[in-house]
Structure formats: structure tokens, C-alpha cells
């Protein structure tokens, strides 16, 4: 049984080595060889002791043309499967054991043991770490505050240095430099429209809220860093959802409002 398989695989290898010139051909040959091994082993499983080369070829062709991937896992786990012997291993790669975290997972039963081992757990699993919340929070806030202050200070100083300034003291123009007041041509735009930063922030807080609603685990995480989050109350009177009932949107096109009507072409003057 094993012989046939071996010879079949051996012949495949041979025929493959004859003219292996480019990587694409190589790939096809390797694939074909593997299929032949598979067909041989299937035949062995089915009780054949030997097979003619031509029939193996034909079966291989058949397998190649109507190969259903979906049914494969179930098939792989069938009870009386045959284990194909490992191809000769040349160089067993040495796994560095410097980083060890958790336990290496063994192969599931349907995967042959000669297959490579799973990578070390540190390469794929989450590593939960916990900050010290209390003291850290204070430091963080402190840091955030002074950082922002420094940035703002540096930025405004830079702006003041590069542009016109006003001063509150006649004798000193550098200690408290005020960026000069500059009139706008359309002052209401800057005054009313939220800045891009605010818009961005608004989106963030919105998405944050959605997250919080969907993911309760996440919420707990937030609370640990931001205790004000716990005090969030529900929507208040002033805040209301401008979203419309769905049906309205559909009607939008039918609205008869005189300002939406097309402008008429001039008529010929009546006398």
C-alpha cells in the first residue's frame, strides 16, 4: 500500500524534476505531485493495492478539476483517515525561546504533527496591562494641562512675534504681547461657525457615545480613566434629535414650496 503510494509519489517527483525551469511550473508540478500522493493514499484507503499510472493520472485530473473546498474540513476529520508520511525535513528551524508568554498551543488532532508549530503566544495574543489609576490620573491631567498650555503659549508667542501686536504697557511690548485686532470682512462667519477642531471634536464625542452605548466593556474602561463619565445623564430638554421620521425624507422631492420652483422664462410683453 505504502509502496505504491511511495512509487507514485516518487514517479511524480521524478517527472517534475525533469523540466523544472520557472517558479510557475514548479508550483504546478508540486501541486500535481501532492495531488498524486493524495489520490494514491485515497486509493490505498479504498483498498487498492496497486494502480496503473494512467488511472492515477486520470483520477488526479478529476480531482483537480472538481475540487470542492467547502466539504474539505469535514472530510479531513473523517475517522479512518490515513496519515501520509512526512516529507524529508532538511533543516528544522530553531525557534528562539527568549520571549515566552503563556503556553504553546498544541496542534488540533486533524493537523499532522510534522506541520510547523504555532508561533509563540506573545506574537498573537492580547496582553492586558493595568495602569495605576489614581496617582497616574493626576499626573496625566497635570501633564495634559501643562502641555496644552505650553503649546498654546508657544504658538501665540510665535504668532505675536511674526505679526503685528498691541501692548497694555507702553514701556514693554514683549511680556504680554497681544496679537493685534484685525477686522474681518465678514465677521459673523468666524463668530458663528464652529471651528474645524470643534467639528472634529464633536464627531469624536458622538462616536464615543455610540461606542459607549454599544460596548459596555469599553465603558468600564473609560470610567477608570475619566470619572466624570459616570455622571453622564440622559438627554435633556434642550437637546433634541433633529432626525426626521423616515417617511419625510422620501417626500422631500414632492415638496411644493414656491422658492423651490423653477424660475420662469420671461413672457412676451402684453400690451
Amino acid at each position: 500500500m505504502a509502496d505504491t503510494a511511495a512509487s507514485a509519489s516518487g514517479s511524480g517527483t521524478r517527472s517534475g524534476s525533469k523540466h523544472s525551469t520557472n517558479p510557475a511550473d514548479n508550483y504546478h508540478l508540486a501541486r500535481r505531485r501532492t495531488l498524486q500522493v493524495v489520490v494514491s493514499s485515497l486509493l490505498t484507503e479504498a483498498g487498492f493495492e496497486s494502480a496503473e499510472k494512467a488511472s492515477v493520472e486520470t483520477l488526479t485530473e478529476m480531482l483537480q478539476s472538481c475540487f470542492n473546498v467547502d466539504t474539505l474540513p469535514a472530510y479531513a476529520k473523517r475517522s479512518q483517515r490515513m496519515v501520509i508520511t512526512a516529507p524529508p525535513v532538511t533543516n528544522q528551524p530553531v525557534t528562539p525561546k527568549a520571549l515566552t508568554a503563556g503556553q504553546n498551543r498544541p496542534h488540533p488532532p486533524h493537523i499532522p504533527s510534522h506541520f510547523p508549530e504555532f508561533p509563540d503566544p506573545h506574537t498573537y495574543i492580547k496582553t492586558p496591562t493595568y495602569r495605576e489609576p489614581v496617582s497616574d490620573y493626576q499626573v496625566l491631567r497635570e501633564k495634559a494641562a501643562s502641555q496644552r498650555r505650553d503649546v498654546e503659549r508657544a504658538l501665540t508667542r510665535f504668532m505675536a512675534k511674526t505679526g503685528e501686536t498691541q501692548s497694555l504697557f507702553k514701556d514693554d511690548v514683549s511680556t504680554f504681547p497681544l496679537i493685534a485686532a484685525r477686522p474681518f470682512t465678514i465677521p459673523y462667519l468666524t463668530a458663528l461657525l464652529p471651528s474645524e477642531l470643534e467639528m472634529q471634536q464633536m464627531e469624536e464625542t458622538d462616536s464615543l457615545e455610540q461606542d459607549e452605548q454599544m460596548d459596555t466593556e469599553n465603558l468600564a474602561l473609560h470610567v477608570s480613566t475619566d470619572d466624570s463619565g459616570a455622571e453622564k445623564e440622559n438627554a435633556s430638554v434642550l437637546q433634541q434629535n433633529p432626525a426626521l421620521p423616515g417617511s419625510r425624507n422620501g417626500e422631500e422631492s414632492v415638496i411644493d414650496n414656491p422658492y423651490l420652483r423653477p424660475v420662469k422664462k420671461p413672457k412676451i410683453r402684453r400690451k
Binding site: V134, Y137, Q138, R141, E142, A145, R149, T156, M159, Q166, L168, F169, K170, D171, F176, L178, I179, A180, A181, P183, F184, T185, I186, P187, Y188, L189, A191, L192, L193, P194, S195, Q201, M202, E204, T205, D206, L208, D226, D227, S228, K232, S236, V237, L238, Q239, Q240, L244, R248, I255, D256, N257, P258, Y259, L260, R261, V263, K264, K265, P266, K267
Partner: protein
């Protein structure tokens, strides 16, 4: 002085009984307004109007219309050229040579000038002569079509152009124009009958650039391109009869938003603001629903438009089927503070759509009904939207405002009556302006007038119940809507006009109740009630002896007689008592229900049925009284000063559920700086169920009593630990939590507490270092990254808090303020302000609230001597081109600087801005701020007060502000604040020392020379009304023999006189006046005409020229055309024509029927008329009058 004139008001009511009598001799039925060219570059408008009128008297030969600023090219009546005269005495009120400079004189003259063009007196600036060809037509009372071509060049009022100076087409630049003004100001932009009582249907056409939208009243029928396809014409039809004063226009490159809930409602905003518009208006449909539901009446117009524009005249202006709002009301969903304010504006404007636009008023004295109803239903909306607490708080606020104003100025009269000949009863003698016309009213007075009107409506509601009240409104509305669907000519349209009489009649019909005493008290007379209350508990009788005194002698007060509710909270419960306030009864005995011995475990029942546990240890052991409230429902317009023990106020604060009572007790506790008060206030502050405004008020009170208790205060500074507990992190109490403003109540509290804390002072009267550090930490750790809402208002208040912490600098021998000797605390503050102000340039906050606060804080630092006082910074921020809030804040600082540093230069700078600034609101605001914070007052010596300033201000109010009623009245207010009523003391004595007092027929020392104190009496006697000086001529039809002997030439100098007589003479041609005279004396109605027939030499009138010229294309303005008419020969206007006409004969026939005696009488009168007429004729143009060195400028030429 409370007026005693009961008679005239009754007379007036009777007049109303007959329904509406138009003061005009014709009825307007339809008007076309067509503006076919609008030039944004030149800020000009060209168009025409066509008025369809039906004469109501046979001999109508002159038609008076209103028109200001407009240049009129041509007038045609039924396609016939018509002559016209344009005379506007309000352009220059007193002639420039007048050296009077006395406000009394000015106010009289101004009132007379306004009267002379008042459409409600049948007058107008534009007088059109009906061509003689049409007289027969007129006699048959047939229709007249008056077609007027006009243009408007760089209007200073009425229409406001906003043209930003950037690149691009007008539409790309966001240029727009809109109508604006105070009360009836439509005459500023097209000729019309500018009265709220003349209703007609409208056709409005506006041809604008194809990229622009014209929004106006009524339904947009169609939009049509012009032939070159570059422009389009918007055609509007308004089929509901509407007064010209309610017509409006807004043109600009607006973004259009159809309301998703109500498709007939359309919103407009300037480019780029659409997202804000969507959010801002998303709420409007709820307001609609509310009003329609309570009024059980649909919104009367078929469509509604809201337009948000820049440089608004007022925040909200309601016109027929559209409202114009300030663009600054728009906001995004991130803004908390602006949201309720904007919603209030929307609701206010919508209430005025029903009452004010759809229902109009008969006369100025009925204004209070409209303002009252719209304000009242707006209040109901507030109650429903923001809750009863907010509503009661608002009512209390409004009540306090009106009380303070009336006590300060001497009274607001809702329903002024001006009976003929009863001028001595002038109800407004305490004021420096006439209340006879809306256009002479101080803006502040008008604001207070509206406030009082809605409060009085609420009193009526208290009396007749809300159900009846709403039934009355519904009745008014349904009558009006029936009337509005009628065709013209039916007299139904007057049903759309509300009058005081009609309103009161409706009330009595609907409710069956007599509210006459209430009306008499609050509507027909001015003043509020001032109660002083105190009490004693008589243990033996178990009686509360309450003493209620009134002050009814101070200005602005009146005596109250009637029921007064008193609520007494006793141990056994709360009891209402109704006391009868009578003339001389001061003491009232109120039996108590509880015994003073109290059951320890028992709960105390409150007014609302709630039962609470109280710690009664603070109480007086002998008395069962917890607290007492006088007039708890605010059913009297009053101020109550009530004395009760501190513990009673504390109980009231803790346990009384009415927010008004809580606020009153907070105010009272300021006077009781004790640990118990402190505890009561702290508890209130912490109590989450307590109304947030009460908690905010408690903060400030706590700061005050902490300062009074400074030597005994224990523990950390007031509110600090509270704030820490509420808003700081549990683990690190010096760090504030990251912002989360989801709960608005705590947001407002979080904003307010630091501001109040900064007012704390230690024993050295400095802000405690601890507090300052605390506030600086709040700013430092402020973190808004996770907040759904913007924190700009919060940060602005933190800057306000910093400013509040500033105390006067300790100055060593007046050294100059430099950086080196800067106080280290101030250095920290300045650091923050600098950073904030600079960051605003990079990341501006909504409405620049932070810049505004920074500017205010800098002024505080200057004023306290930490930073050199210098207006330069503020002046740069006050320039045109900054956001209006910033400008106002900066201007306020300059005004303050002007006062503190007595700077003539800055005052001049401000005055210059008043005259030249492009934004009417800013001009108005500067005057307003100068009046509120004047550089000097009439009783103070000041180097600023000199003759040049007097001249300047005089000029400003006399002629410089003729294009804006509000501005002119503002100038009058300022003049009054600076110089008082009589001649400013800094002026030299006038040359003419003697004047003739016509009334008393004797020469007296010129009253203007008499120093003010002495002149006071004189004023009281002579000032009551404009007409006191001319007393003898008050009523030309009833004057005595002697008066006729007065030489008319002695009164040559009084423009007021002339204007007044212009008025008196014009009146006869109006039928409305016939009730003053016997109906048969028809000839006297038109004295000018009969004078011709009576043989007075017919001469051409000197002040008119035949203006009808063939070829209307003449470039010359009508004003210029009238110049050449110098000949001084006097005679009345159309005498010649009249004599030749059938009209004259017609009249003569009538005259024969009269009794001889009467005839003679009339004749004499006529003679006097002629004399006056002559006088009048000569005045405005008499260049060679020997008595006057007047310049050659006529009033109508001065513009």
C-alpha cells in the same frame, strides 16, 4: 403726578364705540410696490408704487402720504400728472438759529413735528394735489390710482445695505439688504400710508440679480427671469389686508431651507450658515403647534418665512408672514447658552405674527393691547417649554424691571389719552419726551412699556381666568380672519384692528366680569405700588398684627386700594388671607390657626400639600409663624419691602416651594450675615432639586454675607469645598473633572460659582490668594475634549471670575503703572488673559465670548490701576469689521474710559461714531451706553461740558438723526442725562432776556435764564405738553376774543408753533375731527378754500411750486424744485383753484344756512387762520425775515 383725567378716557371709549373712524379722508384698498432696480454698489433703489384709494369725502383735493428719504420723480393720479409738495418738519426740528438749546423746547417742537406728518392725524410728508380734471370724479367718490415713481439713494434708515468689501460678485460677497426700523418706518423706503390702521392688499415685485433671493410678505406667486436672463423678478401677493408698516423686504444670496415639518415655512440664511440654520429652526414647528393649540386658531397667513441677516437693527422684527432675525441668533448643537435665547426670539416673533401683524391696532394708544397679548402668549409658551419655575422667575424679573424703571423715571402709561383741550392733564409731564407718538419715545421707555403690557395682561388673566382670556383672543382672531377674507370697501377690515375699547368689551362679553377698576389702575394711569410691611404677633389674642404702609407720593408710585393676598405659613399649615387695602387702614389683624407650643414630631404641611420635617429650634418659641408673604402671586404691580426676622427668611428659603419666594428670601438674607444664613444658603446651593437660578442667586448672596462675616468666617472660603465636591475629582480635589455639560443645571452652577467666589474678600479687602489659585487651576485643568458641548461660555465666565478677583492697586505716590511694579497676582491674571485673547485669534470661540470677557477684564485692570489706562486697544476692537459683540464690549470700555478719565478726545471719537458708523445698532448702543454711564450729569461740573458739546449734541438730535427714530430718541435721552430739561448751564445767557408769555399775556424774564432749580416751577407750569407755550392756540375753535388780539409776529421764532399749526390747519380737512365742531360748519373744515371765496386776495403760495411737469424724467429732485419760490406774499395753498372751483360754491351754499352769529365767528377764526397760515408759509422759507438771522436752509433741504 398721576393724572386725574378720568373724563377723557371715557370720552375716548365712547368714540371707539362707533367702530373705527379713519383719520384720513380716503380709504386705501390696494397698493403695488415695484422695485425694479437695486444697486448694491451704489446702495440705491429705483421703483414705483401705485395706491388704489377711494375718497370718503366729496371734496378731497389733497392726498397726504408718508414718505421719507425717497426722491420722488413723478406723481400721477389716474394717469394725470399731479402736483405735489414734499415737506418734512422732522428733518430739522428746530431751526439752526435757535439758541434755546433747551430740551423742553426741543421735545415740544419734535412732538409737533412728528404730529405734523403723523398718518394717524391724517398728515403726511407728501402732499399730492388732485388734478382739477378729477374733482368731479372725486365728488362721486370714485376710485383714484396714485402712481408714484421714486428712488432711494444711500438710505440712512429704513433699508439697510450690508456690502462686505471683498472680491467677487455681490452674491459671492454675501451682500444683502433688508428693511428695518422702529415702529412704523416703512415710509423710509417707499411712499405709503405709514399707519398701522390703514389696511390694504398688496402686490409686491422685486427685480434682483439672478443669484439673489428677494423675500417679502405674502405668497410668492412666481419668479420670472428678465429678458436678458441676468435678473429675476419675484412676484408676491398679500391678500390679507395689511398695514404698510408691516411690510418688509430682505434681498440677498440666501440659502433656502424648507422646513421639514411644515413645508409652507421657509427659512433663509446667509451663505455657509445652512447647517446652523437647520439646527436653529428645527424647533420652530413646536412653537407653531403651541400657539395654534392655545389660540384654537390656525396661523393666519398661508406661509411663513424667517430670514437671518447680518447687522440687524433689532434681534427680532416681525412683519406680515415673515420675521427678520439677527444672524447672530444662529447656533450649532454644541452651544448651550444661546439655544434658549434663540428659541425665545423665535417664539416671540411668532406671537407677534398673530397679534401685531395679522391683528393691527387702531391707534398708538391701543398699542399696549397688542404688545400685551403677544407678550402674554409668549409667556404661556415659556411656561410650557421651560417650566413653571422659569416662568415665575421671568415674571418676577420683569416685574422688578418695570418697578425699578417706573420709580426711577416716574411712570409708564399704557393707554395714553389725549383729549382735545385737556392738554394740562398731559399724563407724561414727568418725562423729557412726549408719549403721544411712538416716534418720540425713548427706547428704554418703549421696552418697559412692552414689559408692563404683558404683565397687565397677566393681571387680567388672574382676574378672569386663563380660559376666558384665551377665548377673548380666539374671538379677536376669528373676527379678524372673517374680515380678512372679505373684499375691500366693506368696512369689515376694521375688525382686524384692535382697540382698547374693543378688547375690553370682548373681555366683558366673554367673562361677564367687570375689570374696569383693574384697567383704571394699571392701564389708564401710570405708576406702581410700593408696600412696606411689618408685623407683630399678639400672643394673647393669637393674632398676627400686620401693618402695610404705602408710599404713593414718590414719583412713579400710585395708591393701591383693593384686595391683597397675604400667605402665612404657620406650624399647622399655610393659610391664605385676603386683606382689603383701604384708604386709611394700615393695620390688619389676621387670626392664627396654630398654637405656639409645637408638637415635636409633627410634620409641617406646606402650601402645596407637601408635609416636611423641619428643625424648629431657630423659631421664636412664642410664635407659631414660620414666614409671611405679601402678594405671593404677584397680582399687583408692586414692590414689597417686608420686615421679618432672619430665621423666618431662612425657613422661607429652605421650605417655601415657590422660586419667587426663595429669591426674595435670598435677597433679604444679604442683610443677615449670620452662620444660620450661611447654612441655609449653602444647603440651597447643594440641593439638587432646587431651581438652578435660585442656586445661582444663592452663590452671590453667599459671597456677600461671607464678606460681611469676614472676621468670624471659619473654614475654607465660601463655596470652595462645595465646588470641589460637586465638580472636582474625588482623588485629586484640586483638579476639576473633564467637562461634561450634559446636565444643564450643574453646568450653569459650575459656571457661576467661581464668578461669585471671586467676589470674596479677606480682612485686607483683597481676594484671598486661595480663591485666585483655585480659579487659575480651574482654567489650567479645563479639559473639554470629551464634551459634547462647547465650553466657550464657561471659559468666558472663568475670565469674568478673574476680573472679579481684581482689587484696586495699592498705589505709592501716584507712580506710573509699569510692568516692573505689577502685582504678582495680577501678573498671573494678565498671563491668562493674554493667552486667551491670543488663542481667540487662532481658534475663535462662538460669538467671541472669550474676547468679550477679556476686553472687559482688561478694562477692570485699567480701572483698578494695575495697567495704564489707555483706550487704544478698545478703540481698535471697536472698529467696524469686528463681530458686533466684541465691538459693543470695546465701546463700553471706551465709554467708561471717557467717564473716568474725562477725556474730551474719546467723547468726540464716540460722537463721531454715532454719526458715521455703518451699523445702526452700534450707533444706538453707543448712545445708550453713554446715557447709562454718562461722562458727566446735569448736576456735576465737568470740563467736558462746554458750549461746543451742547451744539454738537443739539445738532445730532435736531437734524443729525432724522433717519432713525430710535437714534434720535437716544440722542434726546443723552442730552437729558447730560444737561437736563432746561438750558444747559454751561451756555452763556441768551441775548434776548425778555420773552412774551402768550398764555399769560405778559412779558417775563426768559425762563431759560433762570437757573434750573427756579425754572423747575416754571417748567411744571408750562411744560405739560408741547403746546403749553402755545397754549392760546390749543383749540382754535374755542378760543376767546382776547387771544385774537395777540400780534402774531411776536411768535415768529417758534418752529414748534409753526409745525403745530401746520398740524392744526391740516386737521380740518380730515373728517375725523368733525366731532370737535358742529357738523354743519363744514366750511370751517377747509379754511383755505373758503378764504378764497371770502375775498382774501388770492396769491400764489410762496412755499409751493407747481411741481407737475410734463416729462417725469427730470433729474432734478422735487426738493430742489421748490427752492426758487421766494416771493413772500402769503396765502394758502390751493386758494386760487378752490375759489374757481365748484367746491367753493358748494361750500358757500352750505354757509348760508348757518346762523349769522356763528358765521361771524367762523369768519373771525378764518381770519386768524390766515394770519397763521401766512406765518407758517413764511417761516420755513422766509430768508429775509428781520426777526431771524436764519440761514437759507429750509427744513426740507437740510438732508
Amino acid at each position: 403726578m398721576p393724572p386725574t383725567g378720568l373724563e377723557p378716557c371715557k370720552m375716548n371709549r365712547k368714540k371707539g364705540d362707533k367702530g373705527f373712524e379713519s383719520p384720513r379722508p380716503y380709504k386705501l384698498t390696494h397698493q403695488v410696490v415695484c422695485i425694479n432696480n437695486i444697486n448694491f454698489q451704489r446702495k440705491s433703489v429705483v421703483g414705483f408704487v401705485e395706491l388704489t384709494i377711494f375718497p370718503t369725502v366729496a371734496n378731497l383735493n389733497r392726498i397726504k402720504l408718508n414718505s421719507k428719504q425717497c426722491r420722488i420723480y413723478r406723481v400721477r393720479i389716474n394717469d394725470l400728472e399731479a402736483a405735489f409738495i414734499y415737506n418734512d418738519p422732522t428733518l430739522e426740528v428746530c431751526h439752526s438759529e435757535s439758541k434755546q438749546r433747551n430740551l423742553n423746547y426741543f421735545s415740544n417742537a419734535y412732538a409737533a413735528a412728528v404730529s405734523a406728518v403723523d398718518p394717524d392725524a391724517g398728515n403726511g410728508e407728501l402732499c399730492i394735489k388732485v388734478p382739477s380734471e378729477l374733482w368731479r370724479h372725486v365728488d362721486e367718490l370714485k376710485v383714484l390710482k396714485i402712481h408714484i415713481n421714486f428712488s432711494l439713494d444711500q438710505p440712512k434708515g429704513g433699508l439697510h445695505f450690508v456690502v462686505p468689501s471683498v472680491e467677487g460678485s455681490m452674491a459671492e460677497r454675501g451682500a444683502h439688504v433688508f428693511s428695518c426700523g422702529y415702529q412704523n418706518s416703512t415710509r423710509f423706503w417707499f411712499p405709503c400710508v405709514d399707519s398701522y390702521s390703514e389696511l390694504c392688499t398688496w402686490k409686491l415685485e422685486f427685480t434682483v440679480d439672478a443669484a439673489m433671493v428677494a423675500v417679502s410678505n405674502g405668497d410668492l406667486v412666481e419668479t420670472v427671469y428678465t429678458h436678458d436672463m441676468r435678473k429675476k423678478t419675484f412676484h408676491y401677493m398679500l391678500t390679507i389686508p395689511t398695514a404698510a408698516s408691516n411690510i418688509s423686504l430682505a434681498i440677498g444670496p440666501f440659502e433656502i431651507l424648507v422646513d421639514p415639518y411644515m413645508h409652507e415655512v421657509t427659512h433663509f440664511c446667509l451663505p455657509q450658515l445652512l447647517p446652523l440654520l437647520k439646527h436653529t429652526t428645527s424647533y420652530l414647528h413646536e412653537v407653531f403647534e403651541f400657539y395654534e393649540e392655545i389660540l384654537t386658531c390656525r396661523y393666519p397667513y398661508s406661509c411663513f418665512k424667517t430670514v437671518f441677516i447680518d447687522e440687524a437693527y433689532v434681534e427680532v422684527a416681525a412683519y406680515a408672514s415673515m420675521s427678520i432675525f439677527s444672524t447672530n441668533l444662529l447656533h450649532s448643537a454644541m452651544i448651550i447658552d444661546e439655544t434658549p435665547l434663540t428659541r425665545r426670539c423665535l417664539a416671540q416673533s411668532l406671537a407677534q405674527q398673530f397679534f401685531g401683524c395679522f391683528i393691527s391696532r387702531m391707534s398708538w394708544s391701543d398699542e399696549w393691547v397688542l404688545k400685551g397679548i403677544s407678550g402674554y402668549i409668549y409667556g404661556l409658551w415659556m411656561k410650557k417649554t421651560f417650566g413653571v419655575n422659569e416662568y415665575r422667575h421671568w415674571i418676577k424679573e420683569e416685574l422688578d424691571k418695570i418697578v425699578a424703571y417706573e420709580l426711577k423715571t416716574g411712570g409708564v402709561l399704557l393707554h395714553p389719552i389725549f383729549g382735545g383741550g385737556k392738554e394740562k392733564d398731559n399724563p407724561a409731564s414727568h418725562l423729557h419726551f412726549s408719549i403721544k407718538h411712538p416716534h418720540t419715545l425713548s427706547w428704554e421707555y418703549y421696552t418697559m412699556f412692552q414689559c408692563k403690557a404683558h404683565l397687565v395682561m397677566r393681571l387680567i388673566e388672574n382676574r378672569i381666568s386663563m380660559e376666558f382670556m384665551l377665548q377673548v383672543f380666539n374671538k379677536l382672531l376669528s373676527l379678524a380672519s372673517t374680515a380678512s377674507s372679505q373684499k375691500f370697501q366693506s368696512h369689515m377690515w376694521s375688525q382686524m384692528l384692535v382697540s382698547t375699547y374693543g378688547f375690553l368689551k370682548s373681555i366683558s362679553n366673554v367673562s361677564g366680569k367687570d375689570i374696569q377698576p383693574l384697567i383704571k389702575q394699571w392701564v389708564d394711569q401710570s405708576g406702581v405700588v410700593k408696600f412696606y410691611g411689618s408685623f407683630a404677633f399678639n400672643r394673647k389674642r393669637n393674632v398676627l398684627e400686620l401693618e402695610i404702609k404705602q408710599d404713593y407720593t414718590s414719583p412713579g408710585t400710585q395708591k393701591y386700594v383693593g384686595p391683597l393676598k397675604v400667605t402665612v405659613q404657620e406650624l399647622d399649615g399655610s393659610f391664605n388671607h385676603t386683606l382689603q387695602i383701604e384708604e386709611n387702614s394700615l393695620k390688619h389683624d389676621i387670626p392664627c390657626h396654630s398654637k405656639s407650643r409645637r408638637n415635636k414630631k409633627k410634620k409641617i404641611p406646606l402650601m402645596n400639600g407637601e408635609e416636611v420635617d423641619m428643625d424648629l429650634s431657630a423659631m421664636d418659641a412664642d410664635s407659631p409663624l414660620l414666614w409671611i408673604r405679601i402678594d405671593p402671586d404677584m397680582s399687583v404691580l408692586r414692590k414689597v419691602e417686608f420686615e421679618q426676622a432672619d430665621f423666618m427668611w431662612q425657613y422661607q428659603l429652605r421650605y417655601e416651594r415657590d422660586v419667587v419666594a426663595q429669591q426674595e428670601s435670598i435677597l433679604a438674607l444679604e442683610k443677615f450675615p449670620t452662620p444660620a444664613s450661611r447654612l441655609a444658603l449653602t444647603d440651597t446651593l447643594e440641593h439638587e432639586h432646587c431651581f438652578y437660578r435660585v442656586r445661582m442667586a444663592a452663590c452671590f448672596c453667599l459671597a456677600k454675607i461671607a464678606n460681611s462675616m469676614v472676621s468670624t468666617w471659619t473654614g475654607p472660603p465660601a463655596m470652595k469645598s462645595l465646588f470641589t465636591r460637586m465638580f472636582c475629582c474625588k482623588t485629586c480635589p484640586n483638579i476639576v473633572k473633564t467637562n461634561n455639560f450634559m446636565s444643564f443645571q450643574s453646568y450653569f452652577l459650575q459656571k457661576t460659582m467661581p464668578v461669585a467666589m471671586a467676589l470674596l474678600r479677606d480682612v485686607h479687602n483683597l481676594c484671598p490668594k486661595e480663591v485666585l489659585t483655585f480659579i487659575l487651576d480651574l482654567i489650567k485643568y479645563n479639559d473639554n475634549r470629551k464634551n459634547k458641548f462647547s465650553d466657550n461660555y464657561y471659559r468666558a465666565e472663568m475670565i469674568d471670575a478673574l476680573a472679579n478677583s481684581v482689587t484696586p492697586a495699592v498705589s505709592v505716590n501716584n507712580e506710573v503703572r509699569t510692568l516692573d511694579n505689577l502685582n504678582p497676582d495680577v501678573r498671573l491674571i494678565l498671563e491668562e488673559i493674554t493667552r486667551f485673547l491670543n488663542m481667540e485669534k487662532l481658534l475663535p470661540s462662538y460669538r467671541h465670548t472669550i474676547t468679550v470677557s477679556c476686553l472687559k477684564a482688561i478694562r477692570v485692570l485699567q480701572k483698578n490701576g494695575h495697567v495704564p489706562s489707555d483706550p487704544a486697544l478698545f478703540k481698535s476692537y471697536a472698529e467696524y469689521g469686528h463681530f458686533v459683540d466684541i465691538r459693543i464690549a470695546a465701546l463700553e470700555a471706551v465709554v467708561d474710559y471717557t467717564k473716568v478719565d474725562r477725556s474730551y478726545e474719546e467723547l468726540q471719537w464716540l460722537l463721531n461714531m454715532i454719526q458715521t458708523d455703518p451699523v445702526p445698532y452700534v450707533r444706538h448702543k453707543i448712545l445708550n451706553m453713554l446715557t447709562k454711564n454718562p461722562p458727566f450729569t446735569k448736576n456735576l461740573e465737568s470740563p467736558l461740558c462746554n458750549e461746543a458739546l451742547v451744539d454738537q449734541l443739539w445738532k445730532l438730535m435736531n437734524s443729525g438723526t432724522s433717519h432713525d427714530w430710535r437714534l434720535r430718541c437716544g440722542a434726546v435721552d443723552l442730552y437729558f442725562t447730560l444737561f437736563g430739561l432746561s438750558r444747559p448751564s454751561c451756555l452763556p445767557l441768551p441775548e434776548l432776556g425778555l420773552v412774551l408769555n402768550l398764555k399769560e399775556k405778559k412779558a417775563v424774564l426768559n425762563p431759560t435764564i433762570i437757573p434750573e432749580t427756579a425754572a423747575g416751577n416754571q417748567e411744571a407750569a408750562s411744560n405739560p405738553s408741547s403746546h403749553a407755550q402755545l397754549g392760546g392756540f390749543q383749540n382754535p375753535f374755542s378760543c376767546s376774543q382776547e387771544e385774537e388780539e395777540i400780534d402774531m409776529d411776536t411768535v415768529h421764532d417758534s418752529q414748534a408753533f409753526i409745525s403745530h399749526h401746520l398740524n392744526m390747519l391740516e386737521r380740518p380737512s380730515t373728517p375725523g375731527l368733525s366731532k370737535y365742531r358742529p357738523a354743519s360748519s363744514r366750511s370751517s373744515l377747509i379754511p383755505q378754500h373758503s378764504s378764497g371765496s371770502d375775498g382774501t386776495p388770492p396769491t400764489k403760495p410762496p412755499w409751493t411750486v407747481e411741481l407737475a411737469r410734463k416729462g417725469a424724467g427730470k433729474e432734478q429732485s422735487p426738493l430742489e424744485m421748490s427752492v426758487p419760490a421766494v416771493p413772500a406774499a402769503p396765502l394758502s395753498l390751493f386758494a386760487k383753484e378752490a375759489a374757481a372751483s365748484k367746491h367753493g360754491e358748494h361750500r358757500r351754499r352750505h354757509e348760508h344756512k348757518k346762523k349769522k352769529k356763528k358765521h361771524r365767528h367762523k369768519h373771525r377764526h378764518r381770519h386768524r387762520h390766515d394770519a397763521r397760515e401766512r406765518e407758517r408759509d413764511r417761516e420755513p422759507f422766509a430768508f429775509s425775515s428781520p426777526a431771524s438771522g436764519r440761514s437759507a436752509r429750509s427744513p426740507s433741504l437740510s438732508d
